[in-house]
Symmetry: C2
Subunit: 712 residues, 2 copies
């Protein structure tokens, strides 16, 4: 790819970003868009309604930029929780890394690369310069200049490790501070117990009561059984739909809407009063639900067991309880709002099959995804395209078209395919039997991350030049050479990828294209207002991997092709601007994991550092500087030792809380008069929402009582 | 190798075994050998001295065989602990497996193999039959008979898995029963705390007291600090030597021994009264020790912290204690008699360096060990030998010599080299910073096992035929084929290996060759009687791996070359006979791990099963029966699933004890009046022996007081 093609792509995308930002700054001021641009504020009733029309509303402004930079970490913590703070820290962390790399790369490495003569440069036409002449490929073989690259690799590694240490230490102390400052929370006092053994004399609930009150007479508080509720959940969601229809019918005044045909697609059947019809239906569902609850509401061998102190819960959690290691299994209880109920009812077998299916699907998806990657890859080689579609030859000869095709189209196609992946991953993760939304999101985040690294990075890099060498991938000694041959050549592709995907995605995220369109369509065509207003949850599973990925690109390419760094720098500035704003106004946290995402960030950064070292070993070898190659080998070893130190030093804090903290918190609670109330609340807080009182219809014949009386 | 060579080897070794057994049955009756053949009984004073000479003493008898089979598992448990029981169970377990395999192999597979015609057989001379004609190699390609082998693989796997399950279940319930029946033991109430942070106001001991009594006011009992004692330990061992000399001098009456020269090798210096000289020396050492203890007896940041209940210790053990995960690290305390003191004083750095050195040495040892393996390998190929040593051609033409060289010599040489390995492994393991003898032994056992599997099995199998293919070892798909080509050809070598190594080792173990010789030499030449009598500890680290290895051979070869099975059967019968006897009379247990060796046995059996499956996949492929090859693939998967089930079901019991057990034991102790005494004992039981009162010399000037007053 030549410089002018890159400039075309940058131009197109920068234009798009500007357009998005401008449109956003106008549209956000329209009151009708409040539920798109500040749904959280709307839900919390914090938005001042200003319906008075004025000209300022139609002019773009930059006041939001200032407001996005303003809030302190404390405010962010209050509004978005520790997870939000850690997420912003991730962006800042990447920004620092890319910033340092940019200074090092642009000041020291880029001029050296350009001064090389390995790739013939036609100085007369600057715009026709191949981007490769800015990369390390252009440095002459055996040149002493490569020692500057060598030094840069060491300096950069030291800087990144220093940052990693600082961040890990800071976030883990924040996590402890968060624990110390938190009010008593149900999940701190509760464990989820599974594998409750069947007893001939007691019900499952009775066994739990007996077992824990005998073992821990002074610590045990109460328990709440889990019930089979799949069918009831289905009925409740049906009832909710009907309720919404009734609300809509009640609000409308047109008779044409009130009376209609029911039956197949509304085509057959006599015209009836729809309101009456739906109210009758709702009552039927309620009766059905009541009957179902009596029939299928049987106990699942799982219970939430609450203790009087945090230490009590920790003892039950950390020490094997029953004599048989497959019975009385304890695990950390999620926050009540975080629980994902469907999988309690699932049998072990169905969960096991679910897991196997998910693994198979993941592998298949990863393999099938190579197809779009190959297509994208072939688009960057015009000759290939001309062979496949000979009729395009004339069109492709137009400079602008060919620049668009090589510079813009590949990453656009890849982006479209990539956008399909996060929902698929979240779907797959939710089939694995996790019982908390946060677990599902974390698992999906991990899946996304490794899927992206494999596909965009390895598969893309390898498929292009050395696909036939995949078989030799199992020779560990060859890996650095293979990577050194394959990876640098992909730099230009990644530059356009950053510009197309990173910039445009981020700005369209701010613009919230899809919610805006769906909101618009809803208002124009459906005129349905009974819709329950939902504040979206922040999609950590798709955002963390993509933000991380760009950081990994920055780390790997900083000494190969420093040209990528300024584009990454722009990207992270945009991201910082966009996500701070959004975390405050748009998204509301559905759970709080206390920053347990950070170890993922740490590990993948270490991974990319080691990858970078391996490529460096290969590159210095290829460039006939074997001494530098050998001297680079200690670097990954030191990095991995550093990582193992960090694992020992910080990771345990992310897995649980130390006894010292728990006992201190327990002591400080002893004098808290609110604790008795809290203990009472604890007894019911882990109730399945499906078993909570139903009051959809106006009847008062006892439907407000819980469907299932808890035996706890 | 031909049948007659095998018969030669069997003959030689069977003769050796008979000789050993006969000599043993005579020598064991000589009273002078009591400390060789029943040192434990001597130490316990249970041996009736019968000095009256009679003829029966000089005749071989078989009464000991009967007595070895007699004792029940209960008696074994009382005398040799749960570890002894588990060890004998290992032999019985292997015996059952080999027995089942022998029935299957000799009745069904061996005739089929022999009926094949893949290898040309000269029927006229039975003794010249190649042993290969009994192996699967002789079955014709594509023959339907291979389905019998296929069925045998399935049946055998099912049998082994069934046995594994039964044994694991039985041993884990034995372990729990052992826990329930045990008296209160110090290690159940104590944890070892490391990484005690330095404090500006308190001593380390003070910090420990403060930290644990604040966190667990009702559970904490006491603690015992660890001190730097390296120098004191050195002085004590010096003092012990001098003491022994004094005792010897006092017992002897000859003046020539009482007066001698001291100085360089006793050559220079005037003649002095040695008794006086050594008594003076002893006093010097004692004074020195007292001074050293004041100078270097400083606290190590480690302490044994005891709790009032088992649950208390478990809480401290299982939950991270301090806020910083690198401080207040807790680990299971070993039994007091099991502690290996030297490494408490070692710094983290020296332990870390120790670990790195050990890893490097292990790798180097494994590589260097290929040299004797290659030599052994070449000895089985006579032509090779003739090329190297042309002057041997005439000698080698003698049938007997060549049979000895191909049948007996290779495994003898290997055996000699192999006997060097266990002491090296135990030395390496003791450098890794373990603080218990049992940990060292377990680690050495693991090292031995994998070293042996790699060297004797893989390296030997691969070096012979497909050394040049090691590079292709990294292609996972090829592994079954490579193994299928390489492994069966080694069957004949392993048959002689079982005979030479297994049979002879076991019988010479019974004969106790080395202790007998050293005892004899001591009595003839040294005439030193002041030697402290030491009962040897059972060498689990060398015995478990070798017994296991033969089981692995049996599993892998049962369908490849069933001829090996009868020899293995004889071996295990011998082993059962020999080790039951020995565990009762010879060895005394130095520690009790409660059968934690069993998971090693389980895992390596699973490993060899999967290896066998892989070879089967390869063999059926080579033998042109692809359907059988494909149908074998589910087998390793099922085996691994079975293994993961066993891990969940049984392994936790071997890692620790469940809360239910601990609380029950604690409750039953509450009414035990001896508990107060026990708690008092607990306060001093973890004292470093180097700090215990010294009373070597006759002085009474306070030397009986502990060198260091405990601050606990």
């Amino acid at each position: 790819m030549i410089l002018s093609a890159l400039l075309t792509s940058v131009g197109i995308n920068f234009g798009l970003c500007l357009l998005y930002f401008t449109l956003y700054s106008i549209l956000r001021k329209q009151p009708g868009n409040a539920d798109v641009y500040a749904p959280r504020l709307v839900a919390e009733g914090k938005l001042e309604e200003r319906n008075n029309f004025n000209l300022v509303r139609l002019l773009p402004s930059t006041s939001w930029v200032k407001r996005a930079w303003q809030p302190s970490e404390e405010e962010l913590f209050i509004r978005a929780g520790l997870d939000g703070v850690v997420f912003i820290r991730l962006i800042l962390f990447s920004l620092k890394i890319v910033g340092f790399a940019a200074v090092l790369g642009l000041c020291a490495l880029l001029p050296l690369n350009y001064m090389g003569s390995q790739i013939v440069i036609d100085i007369s036409d600057f715009t026709n310069i191949s981007l490769e002449s800015f990369s390390i490929s252009n440095v002459n073989d055996g040149s002493k200049k490569l020692w500057v690259h060598f030094g840069a690799v060491y300096a950069f590694t030291a800087f990144v490790c220093y940052l990693l240490y600082i961040e890990y230490s800071d976030i883990s102390s924040k996590r402890l501070a968060y624990y110390y400052s938190s009010e008593p929370k149900p999940d701190q006092f509760t464990v989820l117990v599974r594998g409750i053994p069947k007893s001939s004399t007691d019900s499952l609930s009775g066994s739990v009561e007996k077992f824990f009150s005998e073992l821990y007479p002074s610590l045990y508080l109460s328990h709440y059984m889990v019930y089979h509720t799949t069918k009831i959940q289905k009925l409740i969601s049906d009832a909710e739909k009907v309720c919404r229809k009734i609300a809509f019918l009640k609000s409308t005044e047109k008779d044409s809407q009130r009376f209609g045909r029911v039956g197949f697609c509304g085509l057959f059947g006599a015209k009836v009063d729809l309101l009456e019809y739906y109210e009758k239906k709702l009552e039927d569902i309620e009766d059905n639900a009541k009957m179902q609850s009596l029939l299928t509401g049987k106990e699942v061998p799982a219970a939430f067991v609450s203790f009087k102190s945090r230490l009590g819960a920790a003892i039950a959690l950390q020490i094997q309880q029953g004599e048989k290691p497959t019975e009385w299994l304890t695990e950390r209880a999620p926050e009540p709002r975080d629980i994902y109920w469907p999988f309690f009812s699932a049998s072990f077998l169905s969960r096991w099959i679910g897991n196997v299916v998910v693994v198979v699907v993941c592998v298949v998806l990863t393999i099938l995804f190579l197809i779009p990657v190959f297509i994208v890859q072939s688009l960057t080689h015009l000759e290939q395209l001309e062979t496949w579609f000979p009729f395009l030859i004339n069109v492709l000869k137009i400079a602008f078209v060919s620049q668009v095709i090589t510079g813009y189209l590949p990453s656009l196609i890849l982006k479209m395919f990539l956008q399909l992946v996060p929902p698929v991953m979240i779907m797959l993760s939710s089939m694995q039997g996790y019982i908390a939304h946060s677990q599902i999101v974390k698992s999906a985040c991990n899946k996304m991350l490794w899927f992206t690294i494999w596909n965009i990075f390895f598969a893309n890099a390898i498929s292009g030049s050395v696909l036939y060498r995949v078989n030799m991938f199992f020779e560990p000694k060859e890996i650095p050479i293979i990577l050194a041959v394959a990876v640098p050549g992909q730099a230009t592709f990644f530059i356009t990828y950053v510009v197309t995907n990173g910039w445009t995605n981020t700005s369209s995220e701010l613009f919230r294209t899809m919610p805006l369109i769906s909101n618009f369509l809803k208002r124009i065509f459906l005129k349905e207002t009974g819709e329950i207003f939902e504040v979206p949850t922040f999609p950590y599973n798709s955002e963390i991997p993509s933000i991380l990925l760009f950081g990994l690109l920055g780390i790997t390419y900083f000494f190969l092709s420093p040209l990528i760094l300024p584009f990454l720098l722009v990207y992270y500035c945009m991201a910082y601007l966009v996500y701070r704003h959004q975390l405050l106004n748009v998204y509301s946290p559905k759970f709080e994991t206390g920053g347990t995402f950070w170890p993922i960030v740490h590990n993948s950064t270490i991974f990319s550092l080691v990858l970078m070292h391996m490529i460096a070993v290969g590159i210095f070898g290829l460039k006939k500087l074997p001494l530098a190659s050998s001297l680079t080998i200690p670097l990954p070893i030191i990095t991995l030792l550093f990582n193992s130190y960090c694992r020992n030093r910080f990771l345990p804090v992310f897995k649980g809380y130390p006894a010292e903290c728990m006992i201190k918190k327990d002591r400080s609670d002893e004098n808290n008069p609110a604790l008795t109330d809290f203990h009472e609340k604890l007894m019911t807080v882990y109730q399945d929402p499906a078993l909570k009182p139903i009051h959809f219809s106006g009847r008062t014949d006892g439907h407000n009582a819980p469907l299932l009386a808890s035996e706890a």
